[in-house]
């Protein structure tokens, strides 16, 4: 006998249970709903088809990331941070590694610095492709979805050649990268970027001036720059309001200061602007990757620092010092000096920050992730209230909430 559903406790307490106006109804959307684009629950008060107010609940994908971090070595956390934003896992890797490197006072090798920048932009393309493809599919644009996801799959396969995994790569290392590029990788990268230009061009042709698309996207989910900043929005959502705020430009990290790129902005912060800003950012990322392919210097991909970099396998098997070094790094972890640091990268969805506290030794005292998706969920009601029930789907899609990052 299964338990009757009515006896199960409600995991949430909605902010309102009574309608505010006569004739309004309260409906529950999610957390498992074909149109919610992630495990999110929205309690909405409707007057007819119009949304009067919403109460957004997240946490259905919470898995105690920060608690788990406190009982593993600094290195062992890299696979965990991969699973925050699983559409662009490499950006998480690099943001986390950089925070630890700042505490340890490590400067990357030139090749690692440029490679990280290149791979971060490559990941950003994959993330934006996913977001736009899913958002378009939810509006019924299946062809555009297939075009974009085709390219995304090329990217995943291509990254699997490099890292051994399609989605969660565990490729960053404190002090560098797991391994260097395989033979012919850059050549294939150029081919994929060229194909991507063709396919994104077709998507532009299919939807940019499409009446149905414009009617669903233009003037829907509008947010002003002042509201966006007040509610902590960053990334493409903030830029869609017309504010050219991008950490890659404003507080450059990795190799961004040496690259030529623009920060695309929108006009009024509606769904159409968010779509267009992401499409333009894909172009800018491709432009950056092409520059980086030319600039990529030769040399090692890891710093020569025995505190964090594993010794060469050949040496581990032949000399006692390297064997002990390897052993200490695995058993005790990299020795990070006491201190605290907040390090922020421009993730695909906005500011991805890591606040880490070390008391010395191989295990963190605290790792806190400032995830853009979680902050966006705190203000997303500003974009949902006042529009139609059906508008929740494209608006939510254009914010690109990633459950792994939002709920941690």
């Amino acid at each position: 006998m299964s338990t009757p559903l009515t006896t199960l406790p409600n995991p949430i307490r909605p902010a309102f249970e009574q309608g505010s106006t006569p004739g309004s109804v309260i409906v529950n959307i999610g957390p498992s709903h074909p149109a919610t684009h992630g495990t999110i629950q929205i309690v909405a008060e409707l007057s007819g088809e119009r949304v009067i107010r919403t109460d957004v609940h997240c946490g259905y994908l919470h898995r105690g990331f920060e608690k788990e971090c406190e009982s593993h070595t600094w290195h062992n956390l890299i696979p965990y941070v991969d699973r925050l934003n699983y559409c662009s896992a490499l950006i998480n890797d690099f943001a986390y590694c950089e925070a630890v490197e700042k505490l340890m006072g490590i400067e990357l090798t030139p090749r690692a610095k440029y490679l990280r920048t290149l791979l971060a932009e490559y990941s950003r393309i994959a993330d934006h492709l996913t977001c736009i493809a899913a958002a378009l599919m939810e509006l019924g644009a299946m062809t555009a979805f297939l075009y974009l996801v085709t390219i995304r799959d090329y990217i995943y396969e291509h990254l699997a050649d490099l890292t051994g995994a399609r989605v969660t790569y565990s490729y960053g290392r404190i002090g560098g990268l797991a391994r260097d590029l395989p033979e012919g990788w850059l050549q294939r990268l150029g081919e994929i970027l060229d194909q991507m230009d063709t396919f994104t061009g077709r998507v532009h042709g299919l939807v940019d001036r499409n009446r149905i698309f414009i009617d669903r996207m233009r003037n829907v989910g509008v947010i002003s720059t002042a509201d966006a900043i007040n509610w902590g929005f960053t990334g493409p959502v903030l830029r869609s309001t017309g504010a050219p705020r991008d950490l890659r430009k404003d507080t450059p990290y990795l190799a961004y200061a040496e690259l030529d790129f623009e920060v695309p902005v929108g006009i009024k912060g509606d769904n159409y602007d968010r779509y267009y800003v992401r499409m333009r950012e894909i172009d800018e990322s491709a432009h950056m990757i092409r520059q980086l392919m030319e600039m990529l210097p030769a040399g090692p991909v890891c710093v020569d620092d025995r505190r964090c970099t594993f010794p060469d396998k050949q040496l581990v098997y032949t000399e006692i010092e390297s064997l002990i070094n390897h052993f200490k790094l695995v058993m005790e972890g990299p020795q990070v000096p006491p201190g605290e640091v907040y390090s922020a990268h421009e993730g695909a969805n906005g500011e991805l920050g890591f606040y880490i506290v070390s008391v010395g030794g191989g295990v963190p005292w605290k790792v806190h992730c400032r995830s853009p998706s979680f902050v966006h969920m705190g203000g997303v009601h500003k974009m949902l209230d006042g529009y139609q029930l059906a508008d929740i789907v494209p608006t939510f899609g254009s914010v690109n909430m990633i459950g792994g990052e939002c709920d941690r």
Binding site: S71, G232, M377, R408
Partner: protein, 160 residues
Amino acid sequence: MSGLPFEQVLEQLGPVAQEAAVAHGVLGFLIEPARLLEVVHTLKDPFAFDMFVDVTAVDWPEREPRFDVVWHFYSTRHFARVRIKTRVPLADPTVDTLVPFYGSARFMERECHEMYGIRFRGNDDLRPILLYEGFEGHPLRRDYPKQKEQPLVPYRDVKP
């Protein structure tokens, strides 16, 4: 990165800001809990720290007062970051809410409240956000056992 208003901020705040230091590009200082609103007011206007980036806590079980509450702010005009820290005891882990200044504080204070038990005076919506209604304890405190289970839906008895 020139023209960061760090010196002016410290000059304006005077002795309110203790242990001030710039590390890794972030100005960090310690304040008394009672001075929070006044300090944040100064940061937001005139210094244009208009973005509330983050609030979290750090648990030091051996220390009294036990918790650090840590805020991060960012200025979209100066591209500068400030970290404010304050210390609150286990007996009364209360600080003022920043919701009147920054809308984004709402969700992040809810998370800090459920994870560490920090109370934000004036925030009328401290419902659980990542956890569920009725969850007991504060899981990010160091004395909360990692393996502890609190299933909302009871485990089913499976007969062999």
